[in-house]
């Protein structure tokens, strides 16, 4: 048969088999964007995995160095495009810290609220897509999508856009919340809790799901730290590390929430930690709604053109995937001299080969799904 001429290596004996390379992505239903990995498989076993990234590279850092501090914000939305608010929050806070701008308290509360909404959004995306990776024919997907649509409705109502809101401003936020926001937000929170219970009942209690995920690709805390895991990936191994608690920013110190952690760092724990985090985020949002002070939402007397003198700073924030850090270096002028993004997905993705080799093809897909990468962030 004239199939795969490039691989017709002559085996040593009739019993020898030749490994086969299978290309997965960048156009593959399971790669969550434009990630590509080339699996070398021996039957159903994965013996090698080579990841390729860069299909979504847009030169975020260079673009940010060539735009006004305020103009550059739009690019940062598009890194973790599932949680635009978290990204622009990180960038805006970095600039503010560098320029020494005080943000009104109400703006901080609204920011935290929107960032947590985005986090829920991103985690629901994970929960739904992960169910589809494990093979539940999109039921988990639509369950998650219902809540995501409601959150998007809220975000659109507030900012005018769904995915890339560009709602924050350096020194505060664009505009105050709409009139009936609080009641609508509370209603959405109830719906989120219901959706979470639905997903939990559909997936977590399912024997096949547990069988597929439990004990798969376990990571020890030492390994996780050595590989630079952050966020849910690190917490799944049992390390309660959350930037919101460890190096608090904004009004997170006033918030009362917990850090869910896992036990074994396997795929199931990663799923579990994200599931539990949605609850904590919902708690934070509720506290924000309860305690939100009145007042203005944009700092007064902001310079028309923002100029920052010499200085550099690294602003770590807890993004949805882990430590989303923004490094900015200013050398005077209206543009950053150097902008750098510490993308959590990139670090979380890096040990893919170690995790995947030795498992089955079907497991490789599930492991990749459990890393919860977003390619806008990996490729910058």
């Amino acid at each position: 048969m004239s199939v795969w001429p490039e691989e017709r290596v002559t085996p040593n004996s009739d019993l020898d088999t030749v490994d086969m390379t299978v290309n997965v992505g960048p156009q593959h239903p399971a790669t969550h964007g434009v990630f590509r990995m080339v699996l070398t498989v021996d039957g159903e076993r994965v013996v090698d995995c080579e990841p390729y990234i860069g299909y979504l590279h847009r030169g975020l850092e260079k673009l940010s160095e060539n735009a006004d501090y305020r103009q550059a914000m739009g690019w940062w939305d598009r890194t973790d495009y599932l949680a635009g608010m978290c990204c622009e929050g990180a960038y805006v806070m970095a600039v503010e810290k560098l320029a020494g701008i005080e943000v009104p308290e109400r703006a901080e509360y609204i920011r935290v609220l929107m960032m947590e909404l985005s986090r829920i959004n991103s985690h629901f995306m994970f929960l739904g897509a992960f169910g589809a990776d494990v093979g539940s024919f999109g039921t988990s997907f639509t369950y998650a999508w219902r809540e995501r649509e409601r959150i998007y409705d809220l975000i659109e109502e507030v900012s005018g856009d769904r995915m890339f809101p560009t709602y924050f401003r350096i020194g505060g936020i664009t505009m105050d919340l709409p009139e009936n926001f609080e009641s609508r937000c509370r209603w959405v929170l109830g719906s989120i809790r219901q959706g979470l219970e639905d997903l939990d009942g559909l997936l977590t209690g399912n024997e096949i799901f547990v069988e597929r995920c439990q004990g798969l690709a376990p990571v020890t805390p030492e390994q996780a730290i050595a590989w630079g895991f952050t966020g849910p990936m690190l917490r799944a191994t049992g390390v309660p590390w959350d930037i919101r608690k460890a190096e608090p920013y904004s009004v997170y110190p006033q918030m009362n929430f917990e850090i869910p952690t896992g036990h074994q760092g396997d795929v199931f724990d990663r799923f579990h930690v994200r599931l539990a985090e949605v609850y904590q985020s919902a708690r934070i949002i509720e506290q924000c709604l309860d305690e939100m002070p009145a007042g203005r939402v944009l700092a007064p007397k902001l310079a028309k053109t923002l100029r920052i003198d010499d200085g550099e700073l690294y602003m770590p924030t807890e993004g949805t995937k882990g430590e989303y850090g923004v490094y900015l270096m200013a050398r005077g002028g209206t543009q950053a001299y150097r902008a750098k993004l510490r993308a959590p997905s990139f670090s979380n993705l890096s040990p893919l080969k170690e995790l995947v080799v030795g498992t089955y093809v079907a497991d490789a897909i599930v492991i990749l799904g459990s890393l919860d990468i977003v390619l806008g962030e990996v490729d910058k």
């Binding site: 795969w4 399971a30 589809a132 939990d200 079907a362 497991d363």
Partner: protein, 376 residues
């Protein structure tokens, strides 16, 4: 004219007419099964499903069929030409041959075979050839993986399937499908052979590549499996084969287990009721399959195989043995039914206990709502 008579008194003409009727019925059923599946699954997933083509999307299947017919029939350059082109037909023909043997109403199948059940077993096995040919001949690695997976899975699951059905045939004492139906006039066999039904249903899901055994056609892993390179009419042959076999299996299951066209009141109320019974029962089974499909995730290859070889085959052989004991010593049927129900509960109980052996990993949200999680 009753249905038992030959059309126009000529047996060859009669066969042709009956085959044509079956082909027509099958096409209509397949078109509306795809529509029905999309509708049912959409409802499970809080969607609407097709709504645009005709009232409640009823013409969706027709639109799909027209689209598929008008599409280009592509063949990859490194495909093995004849293997690639014949595979869809070889997948479809066995399914159609199964339909030939099935009784839809009293004396109304294409042909009533004295060894009907045996014929169905024999023909079903041929399905694998077409699937494997598609996998090997496409020149695509996903297709190859899918084809090999399908072959391994279908061969393995045929054993418990056949053994479970043999258990029923033992109780019925015949392989004639019409005779099996006639024996179920007062109670369907599912009541006295529930374990066989459970095994049959599970193995059937696997034979049909339905979730949670849809490993050969796993979209998120191998992009659809063995038919990934097909398009247009050849792809639609695969689709036709898939849904026709779904229908054929469900009718077969209803004939063997649910009393076919006979239970209840089949003989008294005439052929219209008999046909209705056949369809209602087959759609009950199909509905169950859809339900399972939207609910369960997919198993992994090794789990699938070990479930078949370590659980299903053993259980089905024990079932065969028990049935044999009861029949040889002529113990009453009620006791046989009791033993089978006990076996069913033991099997399902074991599955349940296995599933709940780690309570801390069950329904986490409930535990997380109240639990205090340590903070640093």
């Amino acid at each position: 004219m009753t249905f038992g008579d030959a059309f126009f008194g000529l047996s060859w003409l009669d066969a042709i007419i009956r085959v044509l009727i079956i082909v027509g019925a099958m096409t209509v059923v397949v078109v509306y099964l795809t529509w029905g599946e999309r509708k049912v699954i959409a409802r499970f997933q809080m969607r609407l499903g097709p709504t645009r083509t005709g009232p409640v999307g009823l013409l969706q299947g027709v639109a799909d069929a027209l689209k598929l017919l008008s599409k280009e029939d592509l063949r990859p350059r490194n495909a093995d030409r004849w293997v690639f082109e014949f595979a869809p037909y070889l997948t479809f023909i066995p399914v159609f041959l199964v339909l030939v043997a099935l009784p839809f109403a009293r004396d109304w199948g294409v042909r009533n075979l004295a060894l009907g059940m045996f014929f169905v077993f024999a023909v079903l096995g041929l399905n694998i050839v077409g699937v494997l040919m598609a996998g090997l001949g496409s020149g695509n690695k996903y297709a190859l993986l899918g084809g090999v997976r399908a072959a391994a899975q279908m061969i393995s699951y045929e054993i418990p399937l056949v053994v479970a059905l043999l258990a029923v045939a033992m109780v019925a004492g015949t392989l004639d499908l019409n005779a099996i139906v006639l024996q179920q006039a007062d109670r369907p066999f599912v009541l006295i052979q529930p374990l066989a039904f459970v095994i049959f249903f599970t193995a059937m899901l696997s034979e049909l590549h339905r979730a949670p055994f849809d490993i050969p056609v796993a979209e998120s892993e191998i992009v659809g499996g063995y038919f990934v390179e097909y398009s247009g009419i050849r792809w639609s042959m695969f689709q036709l084969a898939e849904y026709a076999s779904l229908w054929a299996f469900s009718i077969f299951g209803s004939v063997v287990f649910l009393g076919g066209w006979e239970f209840p009141m089949g003989l008294e109320w005439g052929w219209g009721w008999q046909l209705a019974l056949t369809f209602i029962k087959s759609f009950i089974i199909i509905g169950l399959i859809f339900w399972v499909r939207v609910t369960l995730p997919r198993l992994r290859v090794d789990q699938l195989m070990s479930f078949c070889w370590k659980v299903l085959i053993e259980v089905s052989f024990v079932l065969l043995l028990v049935n044999g004991l009861f029949l040889v010593y002529e113990w009453p049927e009620e006791l046989l039914a009791l033993a089978n129900w006990a076996g069913t509960f033991v099997l399902l109980g074991a599955v349940y206990l296995h599933a709940t052996r780690k309570p801390e990993r069950k329904n986490l949200v409930g535990s997380y709502k109240h639990a205090e999680v340590p903070t640093p």
